[in-house]
């Protein structure tokens, strides 16, 4: 437990991905089974405990130092589990601290009545970091900035395997993953992949621009719309039905409407959307359904989920990944034709003669439910990862707007001495005055050289400081590129940009000529102006 606590503590302060990997790898190599397996389960959200209630922890704290001092402490620290871990004192007579395995075993069998006494004994024996980690584990949220995917990458690294090799067998494994470690570290055979509902690593595309297309032969490629939802995989076999995100996260729990509608066996690649009748709702609507633990009946009714299928990887017990795209497509269409399923449909191919024709179709497509085009080689197999050549994404041109730099903040890790997080605004009229209203924040899109230039500009034009934030003179115009815009009640300007980045530094443009909020509102279109939840976009035929 103590080693795991040290790991969580270090991870919580470490912003860099590679350093996080190093920390997890070191821990996994040095820690024996089964503890490392339980730790891996904790990092991939694979542990399920009866959660400790806040009232229990508060009661512990008040008993320990009295309600007054506990209240003052909690007020200062701001986090209940952390407060308790800090005010508790280690009792040298409490015996050795529990191992992670002991914690897991005990909690899975202990009754509700027994838990408080056990917990107190553990708190006595651990140090402050150990108590913090234990309480974070018990209250459900580790929040150390490690995704399941990153943890799997670390596991793969200790055995010099690609992460997809771990991903493929992951959903057939269960904590504490002894066969996985035996395979990666002790030359044992690789655990089998044929567990029901296993995730198959998806195939990803490389971006392409119009000019680069000329080097490619149009007849080799098939085109389809790139829907603006979330790429998912439907995997159903042996009675297990699951939906995974692109990164292999099991998202079935949030989408019971999809899972219930699975009446087939196979693995499909598709796009998760919110669809009402024939229209695909804006991405915003889908977001309402993400990151929710419980789905309300109202949510299911008003935001019905739908999967638009692109590809088929397995069908009725047969692995189709080695077949060509055209062959898989034929199987997918034949399968779909057997039976209509309201929650699933097949994404249509976009028929074109040459690149100029396709470019024209892309220009004409104005629906907001579409992000651009996908190009896939007709003779290509389904390959995990992002191979160069067979698949391309040709995104719609981003929207551009000229904003004025307002605030800058230093970044993290390698960028901690650079002002690299930029808040920018557009002009609006307020009480007869022209003022800047912040419309977004961006921290990429620029080169290293531009970053050095921006950093210096910020330092030379600072007018005010608020802690780590510098306010700058409203003089620098930044051309911001973004993929979409929506109304948002969470943002001061009432607008939220999707994927904003700094496209160009416009030293040539006077700040007074930057865009206005009204210009941005116009980008929302007539339907967006009223109410975002009701705005709907017509899908492509």
């Amino acid at each position: 437990m103590q080693a795991f606590a040290t790991l969580l503590d270090a991870l919580s302060y470490q912003p860099a991905r590679n350093a996080k990997l190093r920390l997890i790898e070191t821990y996994l190599r040095e820690t024996p089974d089964p503890d490392r397996g339980w730790a891996l389960a904790a990092l991939t959200s694979g542990l399920d405990f009866p959660a400790a209630k806040p009232a229990l922890l508060r009661g512990f704290g008040e008993d320990k130092i009295g309600p007054e001092l506990f209240h003052l402490s909690y007020d200062y620290v701001g986090d209940l589990a952390e407060t308790l871990s800090l005010i508790w004192e280690t009792d040298p007579n409490a015996g050795p601290p529990p191992t992670l395995g002991e914690v897991v075993d005990t909690l899975q069998t202990a009754t509700k009545m027994q838990t408080p006494a056990i917990l107190k004994r553990w708190l006595d024996s651990l140090d402050a970091t150990g108590r913090w980690a234990l309480l974070k584990l018990l209250t459900g949220a580790l929040r150390v900035g490690v995704s399941a995917r990153l943890a799997k990458q670390a596991v793969a690294n200790i055995g010099n395997q690609p992460v997809d090799a771990v991903e493929e067998i992951w959903h057939g494994l269960s904590p504490p993953y002894r066969p996985l470690f035996d395979w990666l570290l002790h030359d044992a055979p690789r655990p089998s992949t044929n567990a029901g509902g296993a995730f198959l690593p998806p195939m990803l595309a490389n971006p392409i621009e119009r000019a680069e297309l000329e080097a490619l032969e149009p007849a080799h490629f098939r085109a389809e719309w790139k829907w603006d939802g979330i790429r998912v995989q439907i995997a159903a076999s042996g009675g297990v039905k699951r939906m995974y995100s692109r990164a292999g996260e099991d998202v079935s729990g949030a989408f019971p409407d999809i899972i219930e509608a699975i009446d087939f066996e196979g693995v499909f690649d598709g796009e998760l959307l919110v669809r009402r009748e024939e229209t695909v709702a804006p991405f915003n609507d889908l977001q309402q359904r993400l990151n929710r633990k419980a789905v309300t009946p109202k949510m299911l009714k008003e935001h019905p989920a739908h999967v638009r299928l692109y590809d088929v990887l397995w069908l009725e017990g047969e692995d189709l990944r080695a077949l060509s795209f055209d062959q898989r497509r034929a199987r997918l269409e034949a399968w779909n034709a057997q039976k209509p399923r309201p929650r699933f449909d097949v994404s249509p191919l976009v028929i074109f003669t040459d690149w100029a024709h396709l470019a024209q179709l892309r220009e004409q497509m104005t629906s907001d439910g579409i992000e651009g085009l996908m190009l896939k080689r007709g003779d290509g197999a389904y390959l995990a990862g992002r191979p160069k050549g067979p698949w391309f994404k040709w995104k719609r041109d981003p929207m551009l707007v000229d904003c004025v730099l307002m605030y800058a903040q230093r970044g993290h890790g390698k960028r901690s001495s650079f002002y690299s997080d930029f808040t920018f605004g557009c002009w609006r009229e307020a009480a007869g005055q022209r003022e800047l209203a912040p419309v977004g924040k961006a921290y990429f899109g620029f080169t290293d050289e531009e970053l050095r230039w921006l950093d210096k500009w910020v330092r030379d034009h600072t007018t005010n400081r608020f802690g780590p934030v510098r306010e700058v003179a409203p003089e620098l115009v930044l051309e911001i590129a973004f993929d979409g815009i929506a109304r948002s009640i969470r943002h001061k300007s009432g607008l939220a940009m999707r994927f904003p980045r700094i496209n160009r530094i416009r030293t040539d443009k006077p700040a007074a000529e930057a865009d206005t909020i009204d210009n941005l509102l116009r980008l929302l279109g007539p339907s967006g102006l009223e109410n975002p939840a009701e705005s709907a976009y017509v899908t492509a035929p």
Binding site: Y13, L72, S73, G78, E82, L86, I87, A128, R410, S417
Partner: protein
């Protein structure tokens, strides 16, 4: 009467100053214009009469030269703790509790959440990180007076014999400590490095320098910050530390409450920090305690 040399206690421009010889030496290093100040030095344990009051300075264990002031008048004694800590520090003699009638205590870390772990354990964390990331520079943020020299001594005690590199602003006080007989081993100014890539090196600097342009010369630095505030995650994150080290020169909650018992004063005035919790605690022990608000005191960043 100046208890110790930190900037929120020692100020330039006095007509006269009474302090320990070490504190006066620190003030001379830090401030221009000290020749204009009349300086009276008083060693630990010596006493001097000012008017009708007998004044004595006693070790406070905070930094080199730090003192408590004990003021005796007509059989009554008031002790001003200044900043203090109770655990051993290789750069200064330990705090001596003095029985008194009124005790004026600091309260920087006066909340039960503040319990400083063993300083050698924290240094162990630093050395473990150096072993895990041998190609990176460990940039350790320390206060220039006291914390810097203590951390160097702790690193030496933990077996780190290699050269320790210092930010320019730490040089003068390290030199002073060396002159006062504190052996810091092999230390050098970062700007004097010629053939040094700082990979695997430990570099000490003021906390503000970590996110300063100065730090760009180092190889993918690991920012570490040494401070008692690092105990609380939100504070540690705010500091930008990837490696927060809880090393403090102030008494933690257990030391503060233990000290109230040790000095046995029936009346306690609490100042410099979180008065509320310590006043509450002292009253629960039957002590007549209240907060004493000093003007101009800002929270110390160490």
């Amino acid at each position: 009467m100046v208890t110790h040399g930190h900037g929120d206690h020692a100020r330039p421009g006095h007509r006269k100053a009474l302090a320990t010889p070490e504190t006066l030496a620190i003030m001379r290093t830090r401030f221009d214009g000290m020749p204009d100040t009349g300086q009276q030095s008083l060693k630990y344990g010596e006493s001097v009469r000012i008017g009708e009051v007998d004044v004595e300075l006693a070790p406070a264990g905070h930094i080199l030269g730090s003192a408590q002031a004990a003021l005796a008048y007509k059989g009554q004694r008031i002790v001003v703790s200044g900043d203090f800590k109770r655990r051993p520090d290789p750069t200064c003699p330990p705090f001596e509790p003095i029985p008194c009638d009124v005790f004026i205590t600091e309260a920087t870390f006066a909340l039960p959440v503040f319990h400083h772990p063993s300083d050698m354990g924290e240094i162990g964390k630093l050395l473990r990180s150096v072993a895990t990331f041998p190609e990176r520079t460990h940039l350790v943020g320390v206060y220039a007076l006291g914390k810097c020299q203590r951390v160097i001594k702790l690193l030496r005690a933990a077996g780190w014999d290699k050269r320790i590199w210092l930010h320019g602003s730490l040089m003068a006080l390290c030199k002073l400590y060396q002159e006062q007989g504190v052996d810091l081993g092999d230390i050098a100014h970062v700007s004097d490095a010629i053939l040094e890539n700082f990979r695997g090196a430990i570099v000490l600097c003021p906390p503000s320098a970590i996110a300063d342009r100065w730090s760009r010369r180092f190889a993918d630095p690991v920012p570490a910050v040494c401070s008692g505030w690092m105990r609380v995650r939100a504070r540690a994150r705010q500091s930008g530390a990837e490696l927060p080290l809880i090393i403090s020169d102030h008494a933690d909650w257990a030391e503060l409450t233990q000290t109230l018992k040790d000095v046995g004063a029936p009346k306690v005035w609490v100042t410099h920090g979180r008065e509320e919790a310590l006043v509450h605690h002292a009253r629960s022990l039957g002590i007549d305690a209240e907060a004493l608000h000093l003007a101009g005191r800002e929270e110390e960043g160490t």
